[in-house]
Symmetry: C2
Subunit: 179 residues, 2 copies
């Protein structure tokens, strides 16, 4: 867990970062920026900042912000308990660079590695490099994780309905739902 002050400072940094990239948020959106530390308490290393624009039962759109070197830990979106297909998601890089790793043939000499302390909780090593204007679609129930490059990154996420509670993280210590 992070202190309220740390979360608030990351929220402000995120709003500033988006503004620099000409992405406009309403005041209400700015104050609702989500800062996820995944319960690991190492936000600079393992974390994700996001704003959800819309999330209907059919589609969802978010803006994800990653600070330099920050990692979103490995997870997948399985089929739902009600029989619905799991979340399908498209990541479109808007600024910076993001290194995405998905299930599949391991990339030799990857650009980056998972956080050293958590190495045992990472299994997906097929690398996809996304620079501004590039995108990739992840199918349901496919393990993936991603890390920003040296400048950080802004990533638009377009997807089917989003439901954090149904996500499965490889790292069993992780609890996605904010407290």
């Amino acid at each position: 867990m992070q202190t309220k002050e740390v979360v608030q400072s990351f929220r402000e940094k995120t709003a500033h970062y988006l503004k620099q990239a000409n992405i406009v948020l309403t005041e209400k959106e700015k104050s609702s920026i989500e800062v996820a530390d995944f319960g690991l308490g190492r936000l600079e290393q393992v974390g994700l900042q996001l704003i959800t624009y819309v999330n209907t039962d059919r589609y969802c759109a978010k803006e994800l912000v990653l600070f330099p070197g920050q990692t979103c830990p490995e997870h997948k979106h399985p089929n739902r308990a009600n029989g619905d297909r799991g979340k399908q998601e498209t990541f479109r890089c808007r600024t910076g660079e993001v290194y995405l790793y998905v299930e599949g043939e391991k990339t030799e000499l990857p650009k980056v590695y998972p956080p050293e302390d958590d190495l045992q909780y990472y299994t997906a090593y097929k690398e996809i490099v996304l620079r501004a204007g590039e995108q990739y679609t992840i199918e349901p129930d496919t393990l993936h994780w991603f890390q920003a490059g040296e400048e950080g990154a802004i990533v638009s996420e377009f997807s089917s309905n989003s439901d954090d509670a149904s996500d499965i993280f490889t790292d069993t210590r992780i609890d996605r739902l904010p407290k």
Copy 2:
């Protein structure tokens, strides 16, 4: 119909306009920008420029560009022949201003009017003004049209699956599918 030269010049103007707003496209995307004149041959007045980032059977994301005063004519997204619900779409204004009109209680003294020559083909007059950072979700089977303000506008469209062929335009002269 527009000449190839006119379409190409609008495509280039669109790429330039997006670049000015810090929205990065790949070269391939730039050359695939769609310029829709809706078969009316008055592109400056009635038209829409767009790039489709992704369109799966579940969700779709596009960037719409409107030049100053340009109108996207009235239409709706009905339920599909296969029984699927019609397209639900969220418009999020990124730059400029867009005046959106949907079915419902008529707004007195609206900001703008439909193109004079086409007035008989417009019936939706409930006004929603969207400035940068503001958004609105249109439910399926709901008539809507929109016009950009004096600076033009960039609008992100987040939606369920998109299928131009199933759209219904109030103006029976309109043929949405590009030739």
